[in-house]
């Protein structure tokens, strides 16, 4: 029998994908906050990206299902504090987002520039142009805004800074 370790559980969690952005693992998203081993089960602490994120129930059941496949019994705790931030998305996750066609949240330096100049620079995921405009702050899901490229004219999603 394989001994359950925290690392083993984390490894399994890497294969649980975000229901709304299937190319990303919930680990990439920074949704999993803690993994603890208890006597008879594993305790997984998760946090929602947005208060109303409709994916939370699905994520919980996906985690349970994945761990159950390896005979691991788990309990899920959902916490709000500290509040999730886009900074928790891994570098690898950002790259996967871009490849998937969703512009990743701007890094801090870019955001400061955006504050000063009152506009954000978001690179088109299709052609790479920075000549883009925001169409709407609210996109196809709570965590995304809708942008349009002025050069290739393609619309694309941008993962909002939170």
């Amino acid at each position: 029998m394989v001994t359950i370790t925290e690392d083993r559980v984390r490894e399994l969690l890497w294969s649980v994908s975000d229901p709304e952005i299937p190319v990303l693992s919930i680990m990439d998203m920074g949704i999993v906050r803690k993994v603890e081993l208890a006597d008879s089960h594993v305790l997984v602490t998760i946090t929602p990206t947005y208060s109303g994120c409709p994916a939370m129930d699905e994520i919980s059941s996906d985690i349970k299902k994945r761990l159950a496949e390896h005979d691991i019994d788990c309990k899920i705790i959902s916490v709000l504090s500290p509040a999730w931030t886009t900074d928790w998305i891994t570098q690898e996750g950002r790259k996967k987002l871009e490849d998937y066609g969703i512009a990743a949240p701007l890094d801090e330096t870019a955001d400061k520039k955006a504050l000063l100049e009152n506009e954000r620079i978001v690179r088109c995921t299709n052609c790479g142009s920075t000549n883009t405009v925001m169409v709407s702050q609210f996109g196809s899901t709570a965590c995304k805004a809708l942008f349009k490229c002025q050069d290739c004219l393609e619309p694309f999603d941008y993962f909002k800074c939170l």
Binding site: Y50, S51, S81, W84, F138, S140
Partner: protein
Amino acid sequence: MSQQDKEQLYQYLLLLGDNAMILGHRLSELCGHGPSLETDIALTNISLDLFGQTRSYFQYAASLRDESVTEDSIAFLRFPGEYRNVLLVEQPNTDFAYVITRQFLFDNFHHLLLTKLSESSDENIAAIANKSIKEVSYHLRFSSEWMKRLGDGTEESRQKIQEAVNYLIPYAGELTKTCEVERSIADRGIGIESGSLTDAYWQNVSTVLKEATLDMPEIGWSQSGGKDGIHSEHMGYILADLQYMQRAYPNMNW
């Protein structure tokens, strides 16, 4: 926590949750009916945020009662007089100008309130506020931008948004009117008296109205009663819609 303290906290959580739920419901009515695809999506996104916040408050509230009380029973099984939302959020979606003005008047208050609640001595409320404020910053920006776009837009858009402002301003006063529940909760450092936000609130509102080239109506007498459970005629219709499934099929689950 003493029984009385628990009850006060419970009532305070209803006060916070009901505003979010009823406004969330009003916005959800616009799903598929927004004036453009982008605004439709934006308004329903805001609705979803508000429902998420509502759930956080109601889950916490339910934990203070026995097991027969759940977030769903709090949301769906109360009578009109037991809802503590302000009258502003139950006002109908008359037209886009009314929708935006109602949102703008609420968002300004909501943002100020959450800023204070993020320092609440109650760690659950502080956590909910810290989470929600990030979302509400986006709501406030959205509604403020539309106030400016419509106010400083065409002759027709200006006339319509001014009409909505004139109609809804008398409902805004209730937001910053301290009620009994708030008084007791403020003493314990858990929440605040909304009255303490009055100056900051009107300052923020009038700044945006000015930028939007809109006239600020004189703030005099204001409509109130919602916080004490006395609602406008719209509330019954909202609840008939909102509670239909639970009343028709008790204990049904999704």
